[in-house]
Subunit: 344 residues, 2 copies
């Protein structure tokens, strides 16, 4: 009955549907986030509010909450871990925006452009430290291990991405390592901590870690395709940021590899100029996008994303049908499909 | 006998003496630091090695080791916590140098000037995350709570300091809050985690936290006085950095307050110009130093440091004389005295 009553209304996306299923829980998570970003040093809540108040999808804490339901966790600690996950994510966003010299975040002016780099760095540090305060309160050393390991892996991924800027020779394997670390590791940890709290056993723990990891990979692949705008555009997503930074993503890796293989001298020279020499003029984004489409590089990137979504969905097979669990499992499967459906 | 054999040789400073007492332990800490700063992403160990390899006094991990001896801790976990403390300190140094636009660190070119701001930020994040990996391995949730709380307090102190830049009206109370947070909190946590590991009880835990906190306050007060160079200069310490940044420290707070009280219009105008308007010319550092000496502001700052050193030493009264303990207690008391003896 509950399942019927809560079926996806046609006007809700799968993520909105999942958020509506988790509405009461997410209200609790939000309350913890707002309480723990407070400080007597006024610049901290001001800057944190600018970022956190701008919304964002809260996708990572939502994974923690959904996974807790899937594991029939009966406690309260998942609220704090979900908030901790969002704090880690917020800290990395603040630092990323300084690293990338970003102008916009979540459709608003990026914090570094309002307060400057220094407060963005330090408030990021504050939120990161607070995330560990929250974890300590849950008294789960295993969850702490998972989230602290994910945090160091994220930083490694960010540094590896930075080291690979303008490296037109970056391999697909290296790229997958980068996005596995910088993006998927936190998705994986967010999903994995709930079966740990619920003491669900290693099979379910592995399944949810895999779901998060594969979902995160697909999420980043789609994001990297969307940066070239060859698709119906997701709301609020700006175009060409990766290209302008000389960031190597799978579409470019594929297009460049094809150009080399086909001995397309003009295309090779184009990528060398815009990425390696980092000399770009106004029309170059459009030219790049045309190359990507011509080489099928955007479609190939989405195909890779779809494969990871398939892996994510399959991982949930270990959860067997019971009414309550089935509802959350279905919602997580729909969420996975939705990640690649963002592009037409 | 041991105590006699290990008495401070006249050619060793108290910190060198303490380091020689803890030499075997510090070798183990150093091995952990070097092992855990490794990563398959080469830029991470390169940048970390630049900072860690430049030496530094390792004062904070030394506190953890000395406190462990004082508490007759028989385990191995203090090595990892000492390394974790040094990682937290290293992360804050990397971020501070970006925030302060520093040119030098430990007598070498600052990492941000060699690799750029982005790697300094991200490698700082990496070291910070790795510090929590180390803590998790000690399985002490209480130590994790102490060090994660200290980490968020440090970030608060850094933001408060930033918000107070060029605020000539900053109160002495606010300044003490800032240095209590940005500097003393980690000294306190470094000393406090060892009695926690040793299960020494709250009296000894409080005593060592107080020792660390008071030592940290004195350390920063002396550092802030040394920035004006009115004393015999400690090796490698550069002069005038705080002044050039418009950073409010106790010497300036005292000198400005005296100028206002004595209605010294020339001095008030000077401080308004160089700090609030932040307009400085070549001779201003010398003029500022003259004002500080004339107003007794450097001497008053050192007097405050001496009081905190007295508090630090008194806190160790709870440790009663046994040969082994007495030796470490004496070394920690001498270390405290040494902090203010750095200036003549």
């Amino acid at each position: 009955m509950t399942a019927t009553a809560k079926q996806t209304p046609s006007d809700l996306s799968p993520i909105e549907h999942l958020l509506s299923m988790a509405a009461d829980d997410m209200t609790k998570v939000d309350a913890i986030i707002r309480e723990r970003m407070q400080s007597s040093v006024g610049m901290i809540p001001d800057l944190a509010e600018h970022l956190v108040g701008a919304g964002g999808k809260r996708l990572r804490p939502l994974l923690t909450i959904a996974a807790a339901h899937l594991c029939e966790y009966g406690g309260e600690h998942h609220f704090k871990l979900a908030a901790a996950v969002e704090f880690i994510h917020s800290a990395t966003l603040l630092h990323d925006d300084v690293v990338d010299l970003s102008a916009k975040r979540r459709g608003k002016k990026a914090a570094n452009l309002i307060w400057g780099n220094a407060p963005s760095i330090l408030v990021g540090d504050f939120l990161f430290a607070r995330s560990f305060n929250l974890m300590v309160e849950t008294n789960s050393m295993q969850a702490l291990g998972i989230l602290s390991t994910a945090s160091s892996v994220i930083a490694e991924g960010e540094v590896q991405q930075l080291a690979g800027l303008r490296d037109i020779e970056m391999s697909r394997e290296t790229y997958m390592q980068v996005i596995g670390a910088k993006t998927a590791a936190l998705f994986a940890a967010a999903a994995e901590v709930s079966p740990v709290l619920a003491d669900s056993g290693t099979e379910k723990q592995n399944a949810l870690r895999t779901y998060g990891q594969e979902l995160g990979l697909a999420f980043q692949l789609v994001d990297d395709a969307l940066d070239y705008g060859g698709f119906e555009i997701a709301l609020g997503k700006s175009i060409g940021d990766d290209f302008r930074e000389g960031k190597m993503t799978l579409p470019v890796i594929i297009a460049y590899a094809n150009a080399v293989q086909n001995d397309d001298k003009e295309a090779v020279a184009f990528w060398q100029r815009v990425i390696v020499e980092h000399k770009q003029i106004d029309d170059d984004l459009a030219i790049a996008t045309n190359y990507l489409i011509k080489e099928g590089a955007l479609e190939a990137t989405l195909e890779a994303a779809r494969n990871h979504i398939q892996n994510a969905k399959s991982a949930l097979d270990v959860f067997v049908a019971e009414d309550e669990i089935e509802e959350w499992k279905t919602a997580l499967i729909r969420l996975a499909d939705f990640v690649v459906s963002r592009v037409s």
